[in-house]
């Protein structure tokens, strides 16, 4: 091969499609070898850079160090304890309020039941009964 390599032949070479003619030409032609290096070198640098960059990034994201700030830990513990105390107090207060409410409801219900039981007539007949009582009193 007497002519220089074409752009397509350089690309084919880089993609692994190599002919013995091209190989021989690259050995003999310093211009073509330099031209090939102008493309091959950046590609090699890119590969190395991506490999080193990703190795570093992977190490960082996989083995993320857990750092303990003990001052912060104590603040968190104290804050949690205070929050728990408040919740418990609210819970107890709520429970006692609920208990008082239930007691009042029970008393009202009991009063209604006693009133119903002590009635001499059914509730529907109460107006007639009241009238009779009034008439009797006269």
């Amino acid at each position: 091969m007497n002519r220089h390599l074409s752009s397509e032949e350089f690309s084919e070479w880089l993609l692994g499609q190599r002919t013995p003619e091209c190989e021989e030409h690259l050995r003999k032609c310093a211009d073509c070898a330099a031209e090939l290096d102008k493309i091959q070198a950046p590609l090699g640098l890119f590969r190395d850079a991506v490999r080193e960059w990703s190795a570093n990034e992977e190490g960082q994201s996989v083995a993320m160090p857990v750092r303990h700030n003990w001052g912060l830990v104590w603040v968190r513990v104290a804050a949690t304890a205070v929050a728990l105390a408040i919740l418990i107090a609210i819970g107890i207060g709520g429970q006692s309020r609920r208990a008082a409410g239930i007691e009042r409801e029970d008393e009202m219900l009991l009063g209604q039941v006693q009133a119903a039981v002590s009635r001499p007539v059914p509730a529907t007949m109460q107006p007639v009964y009241d009238l009779m009582v009034e008439e009797g009193a006269k």
Binding site: F46, V50, E58
Partner: protein, 194 residues
Amino acid sequence: MERVLPPELAPEIAHTVPQIRDLADFEAVVRLYRPAIFRFLAASVRDPQAAENMTQDCLLRAYRSRDGFRGAASVKTWLMQIAVNLLRNELKNARLRFWKRTQRSSVDVSSAGEWLADRRSSPEAAALARQQVAAVWAAVEGLPERQRTVFLLRFVEEMDSLEIAAVTGMKEGTVKTHLFRALQTVRQRIEERT
């Protein structure tokens, strides 16, 4: 650290890299292939946290469907296939939300090049290396989804076109076409910016 191979040697040496043939020891599978899955996803979405979540998802799916693995492809090809499908579904299902989130939290285009700086012989060489990496990184970012996927599988994961075809479900000819177009774009961007 994983050995870095020059692209021209990748297909030959790939056969000498230790590979796991079955899934009996799933922990070993995770140890060996997790970095490649994360790397591919991180370079695709440029969001390490999103890539981390997707990597976990990928490995979980692989674990759940491990009984269905028949060994027709290599374990790595099978895992990368799951990763590519996850990526594709993520893009398809929530394209706008995903890219908005990714662009908001993504890495700076030039930051990947910083990793190379300490190995260069001079400040000028380091600056040139960063510039070249930034040019490729920016070009890859602008590629259509399929071209970006095949480009990363070829030039970062060093897979050959047959493996990429198995991983992506494309025909080998389609893979070559996408690779060719992606490479043309990247070359053009390198020439413009360096």
